[in-house]
């Protein structure tokens, strides 16, 4: 170890003065850059995004195409006519199908991402260092959320590109005329996808901060998203009045958004898990945006106010 400091700016000079207080936006920008750097180098991010893209590809295209080719009923396609099966695999159908896997397992994956992104800072003990020495707690946690928002945009874009590529490939192989999706429909589907993933990611980030533990955050989040909401919807079927609550749950909003965009409800017999037709698109979008904002505000407020151990 060198005895001589290699630092280009020796510390502790008496002449060193306080840096001028930077603006909140500059602090937020700096934190966001740092968090984007961390997330981009984080193996967990690429594993989760990779798992989502593979699952989406398998369930949205590969299994359905194999079912079409073999003429047999496969996953969720038992009673679907071959022509309709092929039509669902065309580029034109992307706005309807883009969000199909997002309310349930896509949302669960993004929830895990959010919970790990914030919870791991507590788990590894890095949050206290960042909070004490970084550009301030609100800016530091705000940067984490903004960088997660960038990730959400990237994941939705990657999902769309994957779907589009798969659809074009299948249409070409099957010698179908390429029918492109309507721009407005595509924009609505992309917007709905962003809202669904943003809500689940923000919810995960909030749970990670509430529990201050990546493992507990992931566990609790998954139990809620995959079990509790479904159980509550089941109970609402036998208890009058409970549906007013279950209709407003995050999973209901996400499922209804997918349903409003054209995804098939499982009640129809061939729909994807988690897709619902409880709410219209407008209320579902408002609820999703509301949940995302509330989760983000709670995340920043809790991280800013609680004691740093």
């Amino acid at each position: 170890m060198d005895q001589t400091l290699n630092s280009p700016h020796p510390t502790g000079s008496p002449a060193r003065s306080d840096a001028p207080a930077q603006s909140a936006s500059a602090a937020l920008a700096r934190s966001t850059r740092a968090e984007l750097f961390r997330l981009s180098r984080w193996p967990v991010l690429w594993v989760l995004v990779g798992v989502w893209l593979v699952l989406n590809l398998l369930f949205a295209y590969v299994f359905s195409y194999l079912a079409y080719r073999s003429g047999s009923g496969a996953f969720g396609t038992a009673d679907v006519a071959p022509d309709r099966l092929l039509a669902d695999l065309a580029p034109e159908a992307i706005p309807r199908l883009l969000t199909n896997g997002m309310p349930m397992f896509g949302g669960a994956i993004m929830l895990i991402l959010g919970a790990l992104a914030t919870g791991s800072g507590y788990g590894w003990g890095t949050w206290k260092t960042a909070a004490l020495q970084g550009p301030g707690r609100p800016a530091t946690m705000g940067g984490t959320l903004l960088s997660l928002a960038v990730v959400v945009v990237g994941v939705v874009a990657a999902t769309f590109v994957t779907d589009l590529g798969s659809a074009v490939l299948i249409s070409s192989v099957e010698s179908q005329t390429l029918a492109w999706p309507e721009l407005a429909d595509t924009a609505r589907a992309l917007g709905g996808s962003l809202l669904i993933f943003a809500m689940w990611t923000a919810a995960g980030a909030m749970i990670g901060v509430v529990t201050r533990s990546p493992a507990v955050g992931v566990g609790l989040g998954l139990v809620w998203a995959l079990a509790v909401e479904n159980l509550l919807r089941g109970v609402a079927g036998v208890l009058d009045g409970l549906e007013y609550v279950t209709d407003l749950l995050p999973g209901t909003a996400a499922g209804s958004m997918a349903g409003a965009l054209g995804g098939m409800d499982t009640a129809d017999g061939d729909g994807a898990p988690g897709v619902l037709t409880v709410l219209d698109g407008g209320p579902a979008a408002l609820l999703l945006a509301g949940y995302a904002v509330v989760a983000a505000v709670v995340t920043v407020a809790l991280a800013s106010r609680r004691d740093v151990e």
Partner: protein
């Protein structure tokens, strides 16, 4: 502290603003940390009982005492992460934890604060970005803790000592004026400990103020000044030699025991 009546510079130039500026400079030049009558309770149990001390700029101050004596609590109060019941803690004249101190105070906790699932280089680059520095400063910090060559190694695969040094690099990359180190040499072999202490000395010579806690008395002689703490109270606050002389002891262990006995007799 210099007062208006005794300050020759102010008498020569009787201007309140100049006086305040010169006084502030006087504090900043000599004293980095001022702790006055600090009382801390944790879980309704008193941990620090009205501690007062001064920590000088550009020197290594050792904070020594047995486990549970309140060393970490005092450090947390200095870095601003500890709720205090009473008293005042100021760093460079500002209340501890002030926003203006954030980039000036580095804190290395007892357990390393680094992402285990990132490499050494990525960890230090991440913190460098947070502190508005870049790859050059990150590389320098890694070299300063002797981890050059390990930049691409995942932190989870490092030894305990290497992890501690990676954590130190993350604090150093912010180029703090004060470095608060909580038991930085715990679990390190003698060679690594020697290397780290050489590093601390180099930092102090470059102007950094270091506050280093330890419960190992043989590390006391490496410090310029010592604060001996027991059961939440300061029992000695002086240079190592002066403490040994006052206790009429050859080594710090004996001096510490003598001081405890003397304290008990007083009590």
């Amino acid at each position: 502290m210099i007062t208006a009546a005794s300050c020759a510079r102010c008498l020569a130039r009787p201007n309140l603003i100049i006086h305040l500026a010169l006084n502030f400079e006087g504090i900043a030049m000599d004293t980095a940390i001022e702790v006055d009558d600090l009382v801390v309770e944790r879980g309704k149990h008193p941990v620090l009982h009205g501690i007062s001390t001064r920590i000088q700029r550009g020197v290594i101050t050792g904070l020594l005492g047995p486990s549970g004596s309140g060393k970490t609590t005092l450090m947390r109060a200095i870095v601003g992460s500890q709720v205090v019941k009473a008293g005042d803690v100021r760093v460079f004249g500002y209340p501890a934890g002030s926003a203006s101190l954030r980039h000036r105070v580095g804190y290395v906790t007892q357990s390393p604060s680094v992402y285990g699932d990132l490499t050494v280089g990525e960890n230090v680059r991440y913190f460098a970005s947070l502190y508005k520095y870049g790859a050059t400063e990150a590389a320098a910090a890694i070299a300063n803790v002797g981890l050059d060559g390990h930049e691409d190694q995942m932190v989870s695969t490092l030894s305990g000592g290497q992890r501690a040094r990676a954590s130190l690099a993350c604090a150093l990359v912010g180029q703090p004026d004060i470095l608060v180190l909580d038991e930085p040499t715990v679990g390190l072999d003698p060679v690594l400990r020697e290397e780290l202490w050489r590093q601390f000395r180099a930092l102090a010579e470059a102007g950094t103020t270091l506050l280093v806690s330890s419960h190992v008395m043989d590390e006391a002689n490496r410090c310029d000044r010592l604060i001996l703490i027991r059961e939440g109270s300061v029992i000695a606050d002086d240079a190592p030699g002066a403490i040994k002389t006052a206790a009429d002891a050859d080594d710090m262990d004996k001096a510490f025991l003598t001081l405890i006995s003397a304290q008990g007799e007083k009590g």
